[in-house]
C-alpha cells in the first residue's frame, strides 16, 4: 500500500464512520410535546405542604421550565415541563412561617430519586426476592379488585387491613370512609416515635387528646424534659422560629432554657443549663419541682406528695435537692414559664406518669392556656384508627394495603413483624420506594410524589390556630404513577358490588365540605391534684448487673425515624451534635470510655437480651456515664441505593416492651452491655473528619479530651 492509497482509505473510512455516528435514530430520545406552556427561565412559586413528618409545614415550591425524563403512555422520553427546583417555607403559613428544616428542604429529592418506583408492578418471584414484572394500571386495579371481591364473596370484609402513618387530614378521612363502607375495620397506624402517650396524658390532665402547642415566643422560662424541640420533636420549624424570637425578646428579656435528659440533644446544646437525670425519672423531678413551688408559696403539699420531697427526688433522679429547689424558684419567679416533655421520657414504661407530672407542673405554675404557656388548638377530632399490633397479632388479615409505612424496619426484631406480614396472603404497597416492608408486597401501585398530587394537612399543634390546608399539585407527574386516594376510589367503583355515591376524585373530595366531626370541648382542665397519681418507676429490660447501660435510641436529625434515609442530601447532612454522616455511631460518655479503654472510632458490640449490633464509638461529654445513645435512621437492609446496608438500626435489638396504657413501644426501656471488639474500622465518618480542630480523630484516638 503506497502512501497516497493509505490517505485515500483513511479519508473514506473516517467519513463513513462520521456519517454513521450522526443521526442514528436508535440513539435519538423521544421528545414529547409539552403539556403546558411556560415562559422559559422564569420561576413561579406554588404552595404545597411538606409530608415528611406530622408537623405539616406549609412550603412554597419554585417551579421552572426544564427538560425531564418521563413516562408517557408507556414510553420513556423527554418532555419540557414545569419542574420543582427548590422548596422553602411558606411565609403565609401559620406553622412554617417562611422557614423550613433541613429534612423539608430535602423533600425535593423524593420526587427525583433514581430508585423511585415509576410504574405498577406485580411480584413474579418469591416473596422478598425483589422480582417483579411491570403491569398496566388496568391490570393492577383488576387484580386488587379481584382480591377484594373474593373477600366480599366469602363475607370476610373485615379481613381487609389498611396500614398508614398517623397523619391527620382528609386523605386519611377518605381512606377510613372507604374502608368503613366496604365493611373493613378502621385503618391502622404505625409510627416508631409515637406521641400517643403524651396525647393520653393531655386527655387525663386537660381533657384534650392531642399534642400541645407552646407559646415559646412569650415564655420567659422553658424547662424541657427530653424533647428535642428544636431538632426532631413535633413541630420543629414552628418551635425554632418561636425560640429565635424568645431569645431576642429585647434588652434584659432573654428567656432561660433548661434542658433535662440523660443525653444532650441539639435542644440541650442550645440550653442555658443542662440537668443530667437518671433515665425514666423525669416525672419524679417534674412533680418534685411542682411540690417545691407549692411549698415555697407557703402552701401545704398534698398528702400523696411524700415521695416528691427534694431529698427523695435527689435519691430517685440524681438531681441534687438544692437544684430541685432552685429550679422550682426560677420556674415560679420567671413567668410565664412552661415545661415541655417529649422524646425518651415518654418512651419508658412509666411514660404516662412522666407526662402527667409535667402537665401538673404546668398547671401548678399557671401556664395552661396562658400567653407564654401551653395550649391546645381547637380542631376537628382525628379520624379514628386502630393499633398496628391488631394487624400482626391475633387474626391475620387476608389483604393488607400499605400506605408508605415501614413497620418491619421500625419494630424490634423479636416482634417478628416480617414473619407476621409474610403470613398475610396478599399485600399491596402504595409507597414510592421499595423498603423492608414493601419488599414483601405482591402488588406495587406507586403513588404520585406529594408535589405531583393533591395534598392536605391538618396540623395538630405548632401554631396557636390550627389551619387545615389543601393544595393542588405543583407539577405534573413524571412517571406512570397514580394518586393513591384516586386509585382507592377507582377500586371502590370497580368492585362487583361497587360503593355508591363516591366523589369523582380525591380533588373533588378535598373541595367538598368535611364531614361534620365533633369539635373537642375547650380544654376542660379537669382537676388533677398532685398526689392522686401514684408514682411509677420505669421498668427496664435486662438485668442491671449484666446489662449496665441504658440504650437511648433517638430520632436522627437527618432521617427522623429512618423513613428519610433514602435521601442523599440527608445522608450528607452532618449531625449537629457529632457531625456524623453516612454512618451510625454509638455515643458514649468520654470519661466512661477512658475507663473502659475505648477510643474514638473503636468498634463496639452492643448487646441486649434481644440481640446485638456493632457500631463505632463516638466519645461525648453530653451523655450520662451509664447510658449510650444510637441514632435511629440507618441500618436499612433494603431501602434504595443510598440507605441499604449502611450503619445499624438500634430498634432491632430493643426489647418488645410496650407502654401498657397505649400499646406503643417503650423504645427507651432496654439495657445493654458494651464490648470493645476492635480498633477503628473507618465506619465512623465525621464531617471535615479529622483534619482540623481534632487531629486525633484521624486515628480514632480521643485521649486528650
Amino acid at each position: 500500500m503506497d502512501r497516497r492509497h493509505f490517505i485515500k482509505l483513511t479519508a473514506i473510512t473516517g467519513t463513513t464512520a462520521a456519517l454513521t455516528a450522526c443521526g442514528n435514530p436508535e440513539n435519538q430520545v423521544i421528545r414529547f410535546i409539552p403539556e403546558e406552556e411556560l415562559v422559559p427561565g422564569l420561576s413561579t412559586w406554588k404552595p404545597s405542604v411538606c409530608p415528611l413528618c406530622n408537623a405539616g409545614c406549609g412550603v412554597i415550591a419554585r417551579v421552572v421550565e426544564g427538560d425531564a425524563e418521563v413516562f408517557r403512555n408507556g414510553e420513556a422520553g423527554v418532555i419540557r415541563m414545569g419542574l420543582v427546583k427548590k422548596l422553602e417555607g411558606n411565609p403565609e403559613d401559620a406553622i412554617s412561617q417562611g422557614k423550613l428544616c433541613a429534612r423539608g428542604q430535602a423533600a425535593l429529592q423524593v420526587t427525583y430519586h433514581p430508585d423511585r418506583l415509576d410504574k405498577p408492578r406485580k411480584r413474579s418471584g418469591e416473596r422478598g426476592s425483589g422480582q417483579y414484572v411491570d403491569i398496566s394500571w388496568d391490570e393492577a386495579i383488576t387484580e386488587l379488585t379481584g382480591q377484594l371481591d373474593a373477600l366480599v364473596a366469602a363475607n370476610d370484609q373485615k379481613s381487609l387491613a389498611f396500614l398508614t402513618k398517623p397523619r391527620r387530614g382528609r386523605r386519611l378521612e377518605l381512606i377510613a370512609q372507604l374502608l368503613q363502607r366496604y365493611g373493613a375495620p378502621a385503618p391502622a397506624t404505625f409510627e416508631v416515635f409515637s406521641d400517643e402517650v403524651l396525647r393520653r396524658a393531655n386527655a387525663i390532665s386537660f381533657g384534650a387528646h392531642q399534642l400541645p402547642t407552646f407559646d415559646l415566643e412569650h415564655a420567659k422560662y422553658v424547662l424541657v424534659f427530653g424533647a428535642d424541640v428544636l431538632g426532631t420533636w413535633n413541630s420543629v420549624v414552628a418551635h425554632s422560629a418561636a425560640y429565635g424570637r424568645m431569645r431576642h425578646g429585647g434588652a434584659g428579656a432573654r428567656a432561660k432554657l433548661v434542658y433535662v435528659d440523660a443525653r444532650l440533644s441539639q435542644t440541650g446544646a442550645n440550653a442555658d443549663e443542662f440537668v443530667a437525670i437518671k433515665p425514666g425519672t423525669d416525672g419524679v423531678l417534674a412533680w418534685g419541682i411542682a411540690r417545691a413551688i407549692v411549698v415555697q408559696r407557703g402552701g401545704a403539699p398534698a398528702a400523696g406528695d411524700a415521695p416528691f420531697t427534694p431529698e427523695e427526688v435527689e435519691k430517685r433522679t440524681g438531681v441534687s435537692a438544692a437544684k430541685v429547689e432552685r429550679l422550682a424558684r426560677e420556674f415560679a419567679a420567671n413567668g410565664p414559664a412552661v415545661a415541655i416533655i417529649g422524646g425518651a421520657p415518654l418512651a419508658h414504661t412509666n411514660g404516662l406518669f412522666n407526662a402527667v407530672a409535667v402537665n401538673t407542673l404546668n398547671r401548678v405554675a399557671g401556664s395552661v392556656n396562658q400567653p407564654g404557656g401551653v395550649s391546645f388548638t381547637s380542631m376537628a377530632a382525628p379520624t379514628p384508627t386502630r393499633r398496628f399490633s391488631e394487624i400482626v397479632q391475633g387474626d391475620a388479615p387476608k389483604v393488607l394495603l400499605l400506605d408508605d409505612v415501614n413497620p418491619v424496619y421500625g419494630s424490634p426484631a423479636s416482634l417478628k413483624v416480617a414473619d407476621a406480614l409474610k403470613r398475610i396472603p396478599f399485600i399491596v404497597s402504595f409507597g414510592s420506594f421499595i423498603d423492608e416492608t414493601s419488599a414483601l408486597a405482591d402488588l406495587i401501585l406507586p403513588d404520585h410524589s406529594f408535589l405531583e398530587s393533591w395534598v392536605d394537612a391538618a396540623p395538630e399543634s405548632g401554631a396557636a390556630k390550627a389551619v387545615p390546608v389543601t393544595f393542588a399539585p405543583v407539577m405534573r407527574p413524571l412517571y406512570d404513577t397514580r394518586s393513591t386516594p384516586d386509585v382507592l376510589l377507582d377500586v371502590s367503583r370497580q368492585l362487583a358490588r361497587p360503593l355508591a355515591n363516591l366523589p369523582a376524585s380525591f380533588e373533588e373530595f378535598l373541595n367538598s365540605e368535611a364531614a361534620a366531626q365533633p369539635r373537642p370541648q375547650a380544654s376542660s382542665l379537669k382537676s388533677h391534684a398532685p398526689g392522686s397519681v401514684v408514682i411509677s418507676e420505669p421498668q427496664f429490660d435486662g438485668d442491671a448487673g449484666q446489662y449496665p447501660y441504658h440504650l437511648i435510641p433517638h430520632a436522627s436529625q437527618a432521617f427522623h425515624d429512618g423513613s428519610l434515609a433514602h435521601l442523599p442530601w440527608l445522608q450528607e447532612l452532618p449531625d449537629p451534635m457529632t457531625s456524623g454522616m453516612w454512618c451510625s455511631w454509638v455515643e458514649i460518655n468520654a470519661k466512661k470510655a477512658e475507663e473502659l479503654g475505648i477510643h474514638q472510632g473503636d468498634v463496639l458490640e452492643i448487646a441486649s437480651t434481644q440481640g446485638s449490633l456493632r457500631a463505632p464509638a463516638f466519645l461525648s461529654p453530653g451523655i450520662a456515664p451509664d447510658a449510650i445513645a444510637i441514632p435511629v435512621g440507618q441500618g436499612h437492609t433494603n431501602f434504595t441505593r443510598y440507605a441499604s446496608n449502611r450503619g445499624v438500626n438500634p430498634i432491632t435489638i430493643l426489647a418488645p416492651t410496650m407502654i401498657p396504657e397505649t400499646g406503643t413501644l417503650a423504645w427507651a426501656a432496654t439495657r445493654v452491655k458494651i464490648t470493645r471488639v476492635g480498633g477503628p474500622d473507618e465506619s465512623l465518618i465525621l464531617f471535615g473528619g479529622a483534619t482540623r480542630e481534632r487531629p486525633e480523630w484521624t486515628h480514632g484516638r480521643g485521649d486528650e479530651h
Binding site: V29, R31, I33, P34, G41, N73, R80
Partner: protein
C-alpha cells in the same frame, strides 16, 4: 524572497496544524469531534473571554470563518416565515417576558400549519408527529458555556429596544439559523457603552 515565502508557508502550516489538531486541552474543553457541542467550540477553552480562548478560535476569527449551522431536525427556514410577515416573537414567545426566548413546540407550528401549506410532505409529517404527541428536538444555536458565568436575560434587552438582529443577524437572510454574530465580551461591552447600560461585572456575571 524565496526564503521568506518558505517561512510564511511554514508559519501558515503550523497555524493550520494547531487549529485543526489542538490536542492540548484544558479540563472541560470540548474534544475535537464532540457532536454534542457546536463545532465552533471544538478544541476551544470553555471560558468565554474577550481575547480568543484558543489558537484555533483566534485563527477562525482572523479569517472570519463562521461556524457551520447546528444540525436541526429539519432545515427550518427562517427566511420563508419572516418574509410571510411573521415576527420573531410569534414563535419565540418568552423573549419579552423572561430570560430565555424559548424554542417553539410542534403545537406552536400547528397553530398556522393546521391550515397553511397542508399539502407539503414536511407539514404532513409534522401533523402526524403532533397526533403521536411527539415534539421536535430543536438544538440551541446561541448559548453560553456554563463556565463563562454569563447570565443573559432577553427581556431587558427587548425593553431597551435592542433589535433581535443586533445579536442574531438578519434572520430574513438565513434559512437554518446559524451563529452570525460573534457574541464575545467586547461585543456586549461595546453595546452597553453605547447605550449607557451598566458595565458592572455583576450585570452579566453572577
Amino acid at each position: 524572497m524565496f526564503r521568506s515565502r518558505n517561512t510564511l508557508l511554514l508559519a501558515a502550516f503550523v497555524l493550520l496544524a494547531a487549529t485543526t489538531a489542538c490536542e492540548f486541552r484544558s479540563p472541560g474543553q470540548p474534544k475535537w469531534g464532540d457532536e454534542s457541542v457546536p463545532r465552533s467550540r471544538w478544541g476551544t477553552s470553555p471560558v468565554f473571554t474577550p481575547a480568543r480562548a484558543s489558537f484555533g478560535d483566534a485563527f477562525r476569527q482572523f479569517v472570519g470563518s463562521r461556524p457551520d449551522p447546528v444540525p436541526q431536525p429539519f432545515d427550518f427556514s427562517h427566511q420563508i416565515h419572516l418574509t410571510k410577515g411573521l415576527v420573531c416573537t410569534d414563535c419565540h414567545t418568552g423573549v419579552e417576558q423572561g430570560p430565555r426566548a424559548g424554542l417553539p413546540s410542534v403545537n406552536t407550528c400547528m397553530i398556522c400549519h393546521s391550515q397553511i401549506a397542508t399539502d407539503r410532505p414536511l407539514i404532513q409529517e409534522m401533523t402526524a408527529m403532533q397526533a403521536k404527541g411527539r415534539d421536535f428536538e430543536w438544538r440551541r444555536v446561541y448559548d453560553y458555556a456554563p463556565e463563562s458565568h454569563v447570565r443573559f436575560e432577553h427581556a431587558p434587552h427587548i425593553r431597551a429596544k435592542v433589535e433581535c438582529s443586533t445579536c442574531h443577524g438578519n434572520q430574513a437572510e438565513q434559512t437554518v439559523a446559524r451563529r452570525m454574530v460573534d457574541m464575545n465580551m467586547a461585543f456586549c461591552v461595546n453595546c452597553h457603552k453605547a447605550k449607557q447600560a451598566s458595565n458592572d461585572c455583576l450585570t452579566c456575571h453572577y
